[in-house]
């Protein structure tokens, strides 16, 4: 029965494809709203890199309640961008997500604190209120706190966790001592709001040795058994990485392309260009292939979750070099 | 006995409406003596209800004066000089019959024992003993109207103003209530102002019949009844009754001819 539905959907897709053009359709689900964080894909789309590979790519923006893993499980996308902790957690829930490429080499996540709240080192976190994103993004934070030996259930000597909304208001209004920020996005919102870098302390997950892998490309394992799909992914990864490298070299142009694709009309040029230059630093070290050492480190930190680990056992088959090997050689 | 309780002099009332002014009352002069039973009769729009409402200070006249017990209607109202019975029983559905009758007593600040005593008293007057725990909507229309009369009798007002109180009831019930009302009037010696559009009802009940005519609302005739104060329904078969009824009818006709 399941296959019947799948077949129906697939044939619907096929029909759509053959009716439109001969190019292969690929749908990409982003993790968040349209912004320079995803510049590589928009550049590849805009510059025709996908077209050159014979692909007809649709990019779906995400949002606060869009779980990419759920979208791919529902057949709403062929490839999704996700953070590895959340992808591995989904794997444990029985969704066979496989990492096929990892354009982000380093983590851009950090905790940004106000000096006047009395935070200088991680040791000062105790009894403070910290803003954290949830929705699958809390795993790196939880394993870091676990490493620091701080409880997150609000008990004495631990930290009080606040589910941060989509903005940095809690730190501006002093409701939280620290908030989660990305080097390329929220940090600059704090700066734009009027706080100066001197008034802030930042703790990069990368520097604290608790970084986990961010934006990677994930597909369903069962699809990888299909040669045609694999071939499609090879071309997709190749074109996407071409897009990323182009974006790194031409950040301003990339930011403008992102702006053109922002349907919400809420982004500003200044912010996107700055974001692009920060994102370029994170993608710089990667050619697209997953660094196994990074993967091992991520898994290790997720396994150390204390009483409530993010994942309970080391996953198997959660990544493959098959696609990147074919794409990049 | 001939003490004047209500007196109207050159009373006029004009309503301003979107279609221009309407002369509801024009140059009304009338005296009502203590203990009188006065009926106001006339076609719709003759101002009979308006006149009653002016006496009760529910409307304010445009010119002329009215006195109630020698005071202005407003002062009389503040002194709670009269009880008023409306066309519809207007009982509060969330209060029992007893509770409804108690309402004016609560507002006027009677003590609890006094309230209970009076409620029992007036319920007996209108023959509704045993119904004080019932809700209005559990009673028939006639019983509801009797309860509303009881409510107007519960406090010490020597004037009772009634605006077509039996208009919505069927004739058999109405006859019965008319008889009861006369007995009540005899026992309580109140002055009653009674609006109706039924000639037999007016003749049967009243000591004085005020015939009114419309556009502008004015008094066409005032008839002092020659019937004895103590009367039963049989009196309607007498010649005297027919004569008075005839005079009323003439008055009404004259009012129309004037139109």
């Amino acid at each position: 029965m399941k296959n019947l539905i799948k077949g129906a959907i697939a044939s619907a897709f096929l029909f759509g494809a053959s009716a439109a053009q001969a190019a292969d359709d690929v749908t990409l689900q982003l993790k968040w709203v349209t912004q320079a964080q995803f510049a590589g894909y928009y550049v590849a789309l805009d510059k025709g890199f996908y077209e050159e590979e014979g692909l007809n790519v649709t990019i779906k923006p995400g949002g606060p309640d869009i779980a990419p893993a759920q979208v791919i499980a529902g057949g709403g996308a062929d490839v999704v961008l996700d953070w590895m902790p959340s992808a591995l957690a989904s794997r444990e829930k029985g969704l066979d997500l496989v990492n096929i490429a990892q354009p982000f080499k380093s983590s851009g996540m950090m905790l940004t604190c106000r000096k006047d709240a009395g935070v200088e080192t991680p040791a000062d976190f105790a009894d403070k209120t910290l803003g954290v994103w949830f929705f699958g993004n809390e795993y790196p934070f939880l394993s870091w706190m676990n490493k620091l030996g701080l409880k997150t259930d609000g008990s004495d000597g631990g930290v009080t966790v606040l589910k941060q909304g989509f903005n940095v208001d809690p730190i501006l209004q002093g409701q939280a001592a620290c908030v989660s920020t990305m080097t390329y996005n929220e940090y600059w919102q704090i700066i734009d709001a009027g706080l100066t870098p001197e008034e802030l302390v930042v703790f990069k997950y990368e520097d604290e040795g608790v970084s986990t892998l961010e934006d990677g490309m994930y597909v369903l394992g069962e699809n990888l058994k299909d040669e045609a799909f694999k071939d499609k992914m090879v071309r997709f990864v190749r074109a996407s990485m071409k897009g990323w490298k182009y974006a790194e070299e031409n950040p301003d142009e990339a930011a403008d392309i992102v702006l053109d694709n922002d349907a919400s009309g809420a982004q500003t040029e200044k912010h996107q260009r700055r974001m692009m230059s920060e994102v370029a630093k994170l993608t710089a070290g990667s050619n697209g292939a997953l660094d196994v050492a990074d993967y091992e480190r991520t898994v290790q930190s997720l396994l150390e979750g204390g009483s409530d680990p993010v994942i309970t056992k080391a996953p198997e088959g959660a990544w493959t070099h098959e696609i990147t090997d074919a794409a990049l050689n | 006995m001939n003490q004047t309780v209500i007196s109207a002099q050159n009373l006029s009332l004009t309503f301003q409406t979107n279609d221009g002014p309407v002369h509801a009352l024009k140059d009304i002069n009338l005296d009502i003596d203590k203990g009188d039973f006065v009926s106001f009769i006339g076609p719709s729009g003759c101002g009979k209800t308006t006149f009653l409402r002016v006496m009760a200070d529910l409307e304010t006249p445009t010119s002329g004066t009215v006195t109630v017990n020698g005071m202005s209607p407003a002062e009389a109202r503040m002194k709670r000089a009269y009880g008023y019975v409306f066309q519809a029983a207007g009982l509060y559905p969330w209060r029992t019959i007893g509770g409804n009758i108690r309402l004016p007593l609560e507002i006027m600040g009677y003590s609890r024992e006094e309230q209970a005593k009076r409620v029992a008293n007036v319920l007996e007057l209108v023959e509704l003993e045993g119904f004080d725990k019932k809700f209005p909507w559990q009673l028939s229309g006639g019983m509801q109207q009797r309860a509303s009369i009881a409510r107007a009798l519960a406090f010490d007002a020597d004037i009772l103003l009634m605006d077509e109180p039996f208009g919505a009831l069927d004739e058999i019930v109405r006859d019965h209530l008319n008889e009861q009302l006369l007995k009540l009037w005899a026992r309580t010696e109140k002055t009653i102002g009674f609006v109706t559009h039924s000639i037999p009802e007016a003749v049967f009940l009243s000591t004085k019949i005020v015939v009114m005519s419309p556009r502008p609302g004015r008094i066409a005739d005032v008839i002092d009844s020659t019937l004895p104060r103590d009367r039963t329904l049989d009196i309607r078969e007498t010649q005297e009754f027919a004569d008075i009824a005839h005079r009323v009818r003439e008055g009404l006709r004259a009012g129309h001819a004037y139109d």
């Binding site: 029965m1 929705f135 699958g136 606040l162 589910k163 409701q175 | 109202r77 503040m78 008023y84």
Partner: protein, 279 residues
């Protein structure tokens, strides 16, 4: 395939039973039995279709799985319930409804204010107030206070409009009667206007129960401490624990129905005299 066949047969059978029950004499028992059977049919339909089509539990978990999750997560569900319903929704509901009630009474004395406020109140009652949620979270912080504030604003106008309409609902004769008694403003208010307004006031109170719950949950999407029904729903969707999400939705539906039902019961007791409540 067997599941689907079973579901279809079950559906048909239940419907037949219900038609027979409904055609029979209406008793207290059939009044409860018929909708219950229908509800059970829906659940079986759901369970059967999910199993029959092997729908992934990440998309739509079957009711049995939700029930299991519900039973094993009672402490968390209770904590969330207290945070969102008791602290956020109920306090906001209470404050919002009382404020609207008092405003309505104040406004009722002035015809000018009434004529000015009513159209505006009607207008605001139709607005997507829920859009204010991010702003209120910004103003009142992330804990339950901001959720209560969202609820206050959401319930205020529907309650105001209903109460004002109710205070005008008295019968003309009754109003004149109070005048002939020379009743004071407060006597008139307490003995006539308020009782007469009760059906409208309860109408407002009932509408507001659902609004309160929705407001409190939705406001949590814009920032919250790490407990609460809205928090749990949004986080667990991210963790693909859809069974937990549905367990929370069940709690919300139960709480919402109980809240509404309580109000309806109080209404029945208070406005027993109103034609709509009499049998």
């Amino acid at each position: 395939m067997i599941w689907i066949l079973f579901v279809l047969i079950f559906w048909g059978a239940m419907w037949a039973v219900n038609v027979r029950l409904a055609a029979g004499p209406q008793t207290q028992l059939t009044k409860i039995l018929v909708p219950t059977l229908f509800g059970i049919t829906l659940l079986v339909l759901w369970e059967g279709l999910v199993r029959g089509f092997s729908i992934s539990p990440i998309l739509l978990p079957p009711p049995s799985m939700i029930a299991q999750r519900f039973a094993t997560s009672l402490p968390i569900l209770w904590e969330d319930f207290v945070q969102t319903f008791i602290k956020g929704a109920l306090s906001g509901y209470f404050i919002g409804c009382s404020a609207a009630f008092l405003t309505a009474i104040a406004v009722d004395r002035s015809d000018f204010l009434k004529r000015g406020l009513l159209p505006i109140g009607n207008f605001v009652a139709a607005l997507p107030i829920i859009g204010m949620a991010p702003i209120l979270v910004m103003w009142f912080g992330f804990d339950w206070q901001s959720k209560a504030a969202v609820v206050v604003i959401m319930v205020f106008f529907p309650m105001l409009v209903n109460t004002v309409a109710g205070l005008n609902a008295k019968d003309k004769f009754q109003d004149d009667l109070m005048k002939t008694y020379a009743a004071s403003y407060w006597q008139n208010l307490l003995k006539l206007k308020l009782p007469a307004a009760m059906p409208f006031i309860f109408n407002g109170l009932k509408i507001c129960t659902t609004l309160a719950l929705i407001g409190a949950i939705v406001a949590e999407f814009f920032g919250s401490p790490i407990r609460g029904m809205g928090f749990r729903i949004s986080t667990e969707v991210g963790r693909l624990s859809l069974d937990m999400v549905w367990a929370e939705i069940t709690v919300a539906a139960l709480a919402g129905s109980a809240f509404y039902g309580t109000m309806a019961l109080i209404e029945k007791a208070v406005t027993f005299w109103h034609p709509s409540q009499r049998n």
